[in-house]
Symmetry: C2
Subunit: 487 residues, 2 copies
């Protein structure tokens, strides 16, 4: 990929397009250690807005932030049997510190259940100390073999919520409440429609009783797991002695939940909204929602046009918008247009001397709506006054477009094995079928197509009808499930 050239088109090689789009938008860059990346300011600015929105939603629902240590004693990780089986192959281990070999190796957290519930055990005595609703923003490390920026990196940033409750019911309510919160966040902020549902035994979090997930469809029709919420039951509480005295004075184990979303959401945003010109950032997440490019062929123009650009920026800021002026003098207007398009800025305003003489500016949307204009000449005041609505409309349009695309590639009530295989091996998409609950069927689907059981949308999750038969044969279906190839 040469610097000045366009991206590989999505239709030619979606994976190459993704890597180029991320690099060229300056979202991230490869770092020296295999599988790690640097999140550059433009990417981090998007993450800051995701963080801000989620953080407010967590706090509005009674959660508080805290910070737990990066390093976890190896024996902590090993206590919960399923947990260690799931995570041990991916651990990064500190064996030496302060110039000496450590007596016990320390694990760089892949997730923090063990250390957090060990601390909760110190803090919780009575039912009055419950529920305990804590979230942490942190870095975690999982030594993955195949990595891609944002989608799978050895280190990533995330939030992990960890709660303790007096009853099973409360824990289930929290698990599902957070799932709904994630869904709302993904739709309203990332313009990312998701199917929510429960994971099968083979796909659930290592150590969880039940895992619920948000599954989104990317433009290549693969599924991306965008966030998960786990009901952990009492297994961690048992291993770490997290007990409380209930109202009757009896000692009981607490019920736990944990849930997280990661910087992977930036990858989901790229693969959902991007086009062959680069990424598209939903207005609510954009570090700059409007870029203003002054066009000044002569120095005399420059002295009029540039101050005007800053004036318009101030007006937009007053209207609550994030706007930037690109007044770099060594780049042509075309080069600037190209750069901000690649970075996915929702709107561009061009101000040239002739427009100015007419009291007009040129407004150019990053994404042209069905039948919309490529550029509009508008009186300056009208352009400024109209931008908040235009940005709101774009935010909504991005969600609708993604929803429509998902619907076009969703197959419901599929009953024949061959049809499932043909879809997953052919055009790809989300396929809803019946399932008996037999893990052997999951294994067969994986072998035949590489696809996996993404989730059981179930009656509580908007699923319309449970098919009669399992897709794997003649057994009756227990539940409806969603199959797809996945990231």
């Amino acid at each position: 990929m040469a610097k000045g050239k366009g991206l590989t088109p999505r239709a030619v090689d979606f994976s190459a397009w993704y890597n180029e789009a991320v690099q060229r938008a300056e979202l991230a860059d490869h770092a020296p250690v295999r599988g790690t990346m640097v999140i550059r300011p433009w990417g981090y600015g998007i993450w800051e807005r995701m963080q801000g929105a989620l953080d407010r939603m967590f706090k509005d629902t009674g959660h508080e932030n805290a910070y737990f240590p990066l390093l976890i004693p190896m024996n902590f990780i090993e206590r919960e049997k399923e947990h260690v089986e799931g995570f041990k192959p991916e651990l990064a281990v500190v064996t030496h510190a302060g110039g000496k070999e450590l007596e016990e190796p320390l694990v760089v957290r892949p997730t923090s259940e063990t250390i957090i519930y060990a601390m909760y055990a110190k803090w919780v005595q009575s039912y009055r100390d419950l529920p305990l609703l804590i979230n942490q923003w942190a870095n975690v490390m999982r030594w993955e073999l195949r990595t891609r920026p944002f989608l799978r990196t050895t280190e990533f940033l995330w939030q992990e919520g960890h709660t303790a409750h007096a009853t099973r019911e409360e824990a289930v309510e929290e698990t599902l409440g957070i799932l709904a919160l994630y869904r709302r966040f993904m739709e309203e902020w990332v313009a990312l429609p998701v199917v929510t549902g429960r994971k099968s035994e083979s796909e659930k979090f290592a150590g969880a009783q039940e895992t619920y997930t948000c599954e989104a469809m990317m433009q290549d029709r693969r599924a991306l797991q965008a966030g998960t919420s786990h009901h952990l039951g009492q297994s961690f509480a048992r291993q770490f002695g997290l007990t409380f005295q209930n109202e009757e004075g009896t000692e009981s184990y607490a019920w736990n939940t944990s849930w997280g979303v990661t910087t992977r959401l930036i990858g989901a945003m790229v693969m959902t909204h991007g086009d062959d010109r680069g990424i598209v950032v939903p207005p609510k997440l954009a570090p700059a929602q409007v870029v203003i490019v002054p066009i000044s062929p002569t120095d005399a123009d420059c002295s009029v046009v540039v101050p005007k650009a800053h004036e318009v920026r101030e007006r937009l800021a007053t209207a609550g918008l994030r706007a930037r002026v690109d007044d770099r003098d060594h780049l042509s207007p075309g080069a600037k247009f190209y750069e901000w398009e690649r970075k996915g800025v929702p709107y561009r305003i061009e101000i040239g001397p002739r427009d100015l003489a007419r009291g007009e500016v040129v407004l150019v949307p990053r994404v042209r709506e069905e039948g919309g204009k490529r550029k509009e000449f508008l009186p300056e005041k009208e352009a400024v006054a109209g931008l908040p609505d235009r940005l709101g409309a774009l935010q909504a349009a991005l969600l609708e477009r993604a929803q429509a695309r998902r619907e076009r590639h969703t197959y419901r009530g599929v009953e024949r094995w061959e049809e499932l295989v043909e879809i997953l091996n052919g055009p790809g998409g989300f396929v809803h079928t019946g399932w008996s609950g037999d893990p052997a069927v999951e294994a067969r689907v994986k072998e035949a197509t590489g696809g996996t059981l993404r989730c059981m949308p179930g009656p509580d999750f908007g699923s319309e009808s449970v098919p009669k038969r399992c897709i794997g044969g003649s057994e009756p279906a227990e539940v409806e499930v969603l199959w797809a190839k996945a990231y």
Copy 2:
């Protein structure tokens, strides 16, 4: 320390008082790995407000946030000679990952100069790419032998700014600009007066050309280094090939700065403002600025008083204040008063049935001003309307009190060696003397008193007069310096 008891008085054992105050305020707790801690929600809430304020100040001065990897190849750390000498003894090292021994050990970042300047070398080509002004919020690890919550822990949270400039002058300007920003932040938000100045050769950051520092005086008259800003010269640029083409087309090395403040500031806050009843949180940093305690001897009172408390909370929220109602029904009002005092909440409002009948509430400040009242009975509206001003006055009073305390224990123009030794070994404090620049004098002071050269306030940093002679003997003084025992 029994749970129900008061704290060890500061005058009896300041160090025991500190540890108890931190624990009892639920700022932090010891974690299982030696030298690590958990920052609990009350402590983290204070850190969030520090972060918010600093982050706005950084952005207002043109800096952007990014995120660089946790793990750094050992050979990166080793490239800058002074840097590796300073940090090698404290490194935590990942030797195994993904079930295998790594070919090259990876260091858990103790600071990120090396990896960041390696990335800048990829991004910077021309003078037009400069200055590059990036900050990161991150965790870092330094394997310290003697640790104390917030003051010195093996892992801590901080921000680290890293900038690259085309000229030495710009880099120096950035270094000093950030030093001034830190000073403003510490005074305005933490109510922490600081002496700013340059570090001597023996105390500067490993790899820096010059280190500037903010030194605060704690209540035990020891100094605490509260933040540092480094001019790195071109040494990292040389090691990592961070070059740019200047306006004349010649290839030059960039000039770098780095600067950071950490969660240590929470320790500074505790040791500056706390009293024998616990910590005191400056209003601008307090997660709750006002706690409202409904007092309801009977159930009938409860049904009137509790809704009233929530009504007052709403009014305070409307006025822009952070207020909480403590309506837990298993604790006596006295137990609640005690708990919120320990946590340092600036104001308490008590609402009882008799007060309510008179249309009054009781207002109790956490810190009583000279001649101020212990509690005031005020009409509800007056109490609510007056609180923003009271909180502003308290914020200012905390800074003034700390400044006055520092002045009482500051000795200027000290010329006799014996006097310096007597002060540092006796009452303690900040001692200003002349210094020839000879490191042997620093060594002698350290041997005789345990004190160190905290900084050279110098003419640019508000110092009034340079003494004539060096405190170490008869040589002429080159500069004025500040000596103190330090954390």
